[in-house]
Symmetry: C2
Subunit: 284 residues, 2 copies
């Protein structure tokens, strides 16, 4: 496996692969790789000739009072995991390398899809995501790019960006990977105290109950969201940011009975740590 | 030569070419092709295996009171010119095809480079340009893309976009093509009455005089711009939008003596028609 730290190195490696007609799978990450990322790399490895894992804590997707400085940076361990799961290249650039100019060029998805859920509490977050992912797409020109359903809104925003800007690649969305007790894997889980870690189980448990209610025939989106919120509120340490349901894929308002697919998404703080989780409800 | 009207048709054609390892040259235009465009197509034909000419009057780069509706649309003639100059594909999509969603995904270069000159009088213009050109770049994934120096600021904005977003292609900037009497070729020249057409010669003549003054040793940017403005003002039909000089390539303020390269750019209305022209002054 090769570690590329500059754009020039990555370009040189990929030019060779492209000339040989090899297919390229890209797994964009912020590092602190866990089993969720591993599942993306494995999928990329199965479906492509060459796998690039980017490890870059992207400053533009953090708000001014968020955890940019404390976000875990574990490049050595990340490289071991990436190699173990079949990556050919780890691309770990500096911020200066990814943002060479002071004046920015932004890629921004507008409309409801970026204004609801995390877009409301983190108003510049998705602009940072779409900008850095565009850069990575242009650098790697992958055949397939891999993201986790854990970041459900990010996935829908990126799908819209790919569609609107005609990126010539396939978005591959992989299922949420959970701990044995149900907590969705996240690099931010390492922030949790043992007590917060136990309390955070309320998210997956409540979503599981909502899924049962849906399976039993409940089709009222509002009721499903309220039911989930009430359950989360039974945990005193849970400080709710949102518990909401939207239509897929455009994340439009969900009034009346659910049709097609709905996204039931939650964001909740435990101490200083903000966790997200979600459930897709497909009406068959 | 093939005429593609949909994204799907273009993609299918280009997938074949790419699989065969052919290099691709892209010439983005708004149609109404003239000798300036022809020079771009010829250059693309010399440097690439396959040449795509896009013909699309891009609504998002027109302001609310601009000439979107009256902009000349001459697809049949454009196809003849494109074929004559060696194009393999003309891509002429509808607006709906290029902008499939109501909520937009924008690509926007920020900072001084987009705020001066045309960016000041046409505040949403360059956002429209960079968005549509990003779409065309992603669709065609060209090895080289061709633009005319006539649109000097556009060229610098696109160069910044390519650099910032890591588009994997070479921008090829071709010299201004002029009529025998000096008027820069433009699709908008067809709007001019015979009287306005004669008056418009003041642009190229004034720039030529400024070039002489520069050649004679004048290095004060402000003086060169003022000199040009005074000359243009001798033409009573000339309604000046701007006559300004900026440093290349970032279009920063040009105070003190010129160093490196400067862009002396003019935008002037003749009747309802707004024309632009420019001169690059290179200090050796």
């Amino acid at each position: 496996m090769i570690l590329c730290k500059t754009v020039a190195e990555l370009r040189a490696e990929l030019a060779i692969a492209r000339n040989e007609g090899r297919t390229i799978g890209l797994v964009p990450t912020m590092g602190a790789l866990h089993e969720g990322h591993a599942s993306l790399i494995r999928a990329a490895n199965m479906e492509n000739d060459l796998v690039v894992v980017s490890v870059f804590v992207n400053p533009t997707q953090f708000g001014p009072n968020e955890d940019l400085d404390s976000y875990p940076r574990t490049l050595e361990a990340d490289c071991l995991i990436a190699e173990r799961e079949g990556a050919d290249i780890v691309f770990a650039p500096t911020a200066k390398e990814m943002y060479p100019s002071e004046d920015m060029t932004w890629v921004e998805v507008t409309g409801g899809i970026t204004n609801v859920l995390c877009g409301r509490s983190r108003p510049t977050h998705f602009r940072g995501v779409t900008t850095v992912v565009s850069k990575l797409f242009n650098l790697a020109q992958p055949d397939r790019a891999y993201f986790g359903q854990k970041d459900a809104q990010q996935v829908q925003v990126l799908a819209k960006m790919v569609k609107d800007l005609f990126f010539n690649l396939q978005l591959r969305i992989m299922p949420i990977v959970r701990e044995a007790d149900g907590l969705a894997k996240s690099s931010r889980n390492t922030y949790l105290s043992p007590e917060e870690r136990r309390a955070a189980l309320i998210l997956s448990r409540s979503l599981k109950e909502a899924e049962k209610l849906f399976a039993a025939g409940e089709r009222d989106g509002k009721k499903l969201a309220e039911f989930t919120e009430e359950l989360i509120k039974t945990e005193p340490m849970a400080d709710i940011d949102y518990v909401e349901i939207y239509r897929m894929p455009d994340l439009s308002e969900c009034s009346g009975p659910l049709e097609g697919a709905g996204l039931l998404a939650v964001a909740v703080r435990f101490g200083k740590t903000r966790l997200i989780d979600n459930l897709v409800l497909e009406v068959k």
